[in-house]
Amino acid sequence: MFDFTLAGARAALRARQVSARELTTAHLGAIEALNPRLNAFITVTPDLALRQAAAADAALARGEAGNLTGIPLAIKDLFCTAGVRTTAASRILEPFVPPYESTVTANLLRDGAVFLGKANLDEFAMGSSNMTSAFGPVTNPWTRPGDPSPLVPGGSSGGSAAAVAAGLALGATATDTGGSIRQPASFCGIAGIKPTYGRCSRWGIVAFASSLDQAGPLARTVEDCAILLGSMAGHDPKDSTSADRPVPDFAAACRRGVRGLRIGVPREYRSDDMPPEIEALWQQGLAWLREAGAETIDVSLPHTKYGLATYYIVAPAEASSNLARYDGVRFGARTEGGDLTGMYENTRAAGFGAEVQRRILIGTYVLSAGYYDAYYLRAQKIRALILRDFTEVFRTVDALLTPTAPSSAFAQGERMDDPVKMYLNDVFTVPANMSGVPGLSVPAGLDARGLPLGLQVLGKPFDEETVFAVGAALERAAGFSARPSLRAGG
């Protein structure tokens, strides 16, 4: 049951070899068994899942299977789900039950998916380790052989990634503002794509940084990601930044192959302090693509080095404004104070964790009169240059290949002393958010300590098809078959 890919489970459901009820029950059982150790879910919704599974079985019996009918998924607890508590892993939203369904999750429900529950994450998606969740850290199902110390799953979509890697769900929704899909995918040995900005509606997703946030799937294979994205994506008139263009057959693109494609290798992603095994895996990935018929070309993205610094101005700036609505007045948690200001201060002091408070402060600072031009305005100018880098380079290549993250998963509690060290996790992933281009992480190998490493494929805006084609080719060549130590049915 737990060896299924999403595509395989879908075929088995349609062939009536397994029922949605069986599949759902098995996954709920795995959650019950493993979630106490992983803490991948903040909220589990067994009753709802079983009702949805029953409806799925009925639809399957009628021969009316949708794209995802009967497929059990984990939903990052940043997506509002009607009638199901949505916390953003924050105390301030602990009691919040949305009366509406996000567009992305509504699309999944439309296509017959079963929701197992709400996955843990860094508070308000702010983090690269899942250590900032108000509901406790998520534990990576992978451990270093011979070393039991718990590792982080990456972040912010750490719960989603851990759940998928450990077999607690066939796939998961996630969001990516600076790498929050791709870095956890790399740390947990699974696939994850941040599609082009505008591909998925942001309506009903708790906002972190509006111009960077983008929803995408996490799954154990590239094809599974393609199947999920096919349901999640689509134009939404309720999101002004959603792209009005048709959703291609992403799954079909996975079978295209890479013969004749030109793959760029950005030299700025190479650094002296990059671990040699990551450099080696990168070269291996390029070799695989050449063997599959692609051409690899050295290219330059000259403004890459400013990406991270710029990101940590733009994202907190938008967050400081987006999070102003959590004021204790209309919903969520309130802590009374002597007067209005006291209530605001007490509510936000009690409701927001340290990292969220840090980013609100940074964001408020960079937008302040007298500092705006030096920080926010300059960051926006550099952002335009980063986008121009990509536009230029995509005139000559079809996709880029880079490492996903500068390291494999680290131990819980590591890098907590210096936020900048933590922020450096996002160095390879942030440029895709700054420019809006799609980025896919594919599990490609293990490091010397036996932990998974991912490679990142970046593509042209709205050309996820090529990204999937390249990612699937890498996946086939890598033949990544290692499994985490903590795993359902394992």
Partner: protein
């Protein structure tokens, strides 16, 4: 005579700029589908977007954009085909997202102009700096509970136009004329109902004073003034205060003030030091607003005739004075009424009737011209009855009042009350004879040279004839006999 404040050191010129906030007429709010009707139950017109629930996103209301563009065109202003929405960040319970979406750096409408007409018949062009769209906030009610404030979000997110003038105004009268003219244009365009009592139109008034020929001195902003009269009073009060400060050796500090109409003074609301840092930045939920030039041109073609054009046409085509034309075009309904009365008739008479008897009757009865007790058709008929000699001018006034009172047709009243004027010279001569016989002393005085008494005899004869005598024939008969 230029308006000045006379201080102990001589006259001071007053410099005024206005920021007018006008509610855009639209069925739904600027960025949400919630309704905008005034006076609904508290919090009955609030969407999750207005209440800023997690994950909610703004979507621009195209009709509000069209209304802003129409207004810009009506102000003969430059329309920016690319504009942008910014966030103005501050915390307050009636501002659910913690920011107002506004157009700070790149407004939809640029420089325009408003022609104002003053009581002495002169006109001035007042520069409009810009017009931008923004959201209104909700309402905080502090008087409903001893320790709590109540919040009504019905107004939260309703579309506003902020129309900013250049500091071109120099007197309370000019400021009043500016607001009245702006209101008139907005109502013509159908983009704002101009209802100041319901808060559809509010003004922030920037006031400074200076000696003639000086550069501008520090200004103060008097916030949220909600009637033309209060705007004029606030300017006078604030300018007088500033003159006293300067002449007392002090300096005027830039600050935000409030006008207290009961006491006729302004008082400090917050100083520049306490001013919010609004941390404006482009709203990342919205792409820049890009307008199609052809669409703007289509809106331009569909604009109604505006007050200035109509006034020019009324003076040109109807030969009206600039003043009368100005009065008649202030409201579209009045102009429409006048034109119906004037069609095929003496336009000056029509204008006199509308601005005289009709306005007086509307004032007295408290009714609007749309709901006038005398229709334009009836007033036109009364004029016809005078023109064809059926009634005389004096009876016409009585007939007008009778129509106003009963709502009956003028012809029916003329018949039922026997108001036809008497042109029968025999009857007129008889009345003349009777009046002369009754006033032999007055006749003697007149004949000894007291010409002024002629009017007395006309009045007596008309009275004798119960007002219905043909005035020309009465004059003729009197002259002949006397």
């Amino acid at each position: 005579m230029a308006y000045v404040i006379e201080g102990s050191t001589g006259p001071w010129e007053v410099v005024i700029g206005l920021e007018v906030h006008a509610h855009i007429i639209s069925r739904s709010k600027l960025f949400s589908g919630a309704a905008t009707a005034f006076g609904a139950e508290p919090n009955s017109q609030v969407s999750f977007v207005d209440a800023a629930f997690p994950g909610m996103l703004p979507v621009i209301n195209g009709e509000c954009v069209a209304q802003a563009v129409r207004t810009g065109l009506g102000l003969r202003a430059h329309i920016h085909l690319v504009s942008r929405f910014d966030r103005k960040n501050y915390f307050y319970p009636d501002l659910p997202p913690g920011y107002q979406i506004s157009q700070y750096a790149h407004p939809i409408v640029g420089a325009g102009v408003i022609e104002i007409e003053l009581a002495d018949g002169s006109t001035r062009s007042i520069g409009v700096t810009r017009l931008h769209m923004e959201q209104d906030a909700g309402k905080s009610l502090h008087d409903q509970h001893p320790t709590k404030s109540y919040i009504d979000l019905n107004r939260a997110g309703v579309a506003l136009m902020e129309i900013v003038s250049e500091p071109d105004l120099r007197s309370p009268e000019e400021a009043g004329a500016y607001i009245r003219k702006l209101r008139s244009i907005l109502r013509y365009l159908g983009t704002c109902d101009g209802n100041m009592e319901e808060g559809s139109l509010r003004a922030d008034v920037n006031v400074s004073v200076r000696k003639h020929g000086e550069p501008y001195r520090t200004r103060c902003e008097v916030k949220n003034v909600n009637s033309v009269r209060f705007v004029m009073q606030a300017i006078e009060a604030e300018a007088t205060r500033q003159v006293a400060v300067w002449e007392g050796g002090g300096t005027v500090d830039q600050e935000t003030r409030l006008f207290d109409p009961a006491r006729g003074v302004t008082r400090s609301m917050r100083s520049k030091e306490d001013a919010h840092d609004y941390r404006y930045f482009p709203d990342p939920d919205l792409f820049p607003l890009v307008l199609d030039e052809a669409w703007v041109e289509a809106l331009r073609r569909d604009l109604p005739e505006l007050p200035d054009e109509k006034r020019a046409r009324f003076t040109r085509d109807y030969g009206l004075s600039a003043y009368d034309a100005g009065v008649l075009v202030a409201e579209q309904a009045t102009a429409r009424y006048f034109e119906e009365v004037a069609r095929g008739r003496d336009a000056k008479q029509a204008a006199n009737w509308v601005t005289g008897d009709l306005f007086a009757t509307l004032n007295r009865t408290g009714r609007s011209i749309e709901d006038s007790p005398v229709s334009a058709a009836s007033l036109g008929r009364i004029l016809d009855l005078v023109a064809d000699g059926t009634i005389n001018g004096r009876i016409a006034k009585d007939l007008f009042d009778a129509v106003a009172e009963t709502g009956d047709a003028p012809d029916a009243i003329v018949e039922s009350r026997g108001l036809r004027q008497v042109t029968d010279t025999g009857a007129i001569d008889a009345a003349v004879t009777a009046v002369l016989a009754a006033n032999p002393d007055k006749v003697a005085e007149y004949r000894s040279g007291k010409d002024k008494l002629f009017g007395f005899f006309v009045g007596q004869v008309m009275r004798e004839m119960r007002g219905k005598g043909n005035p020309a024939l009465v004059n003729e008969a009197l002259k002949r006999v006397l």
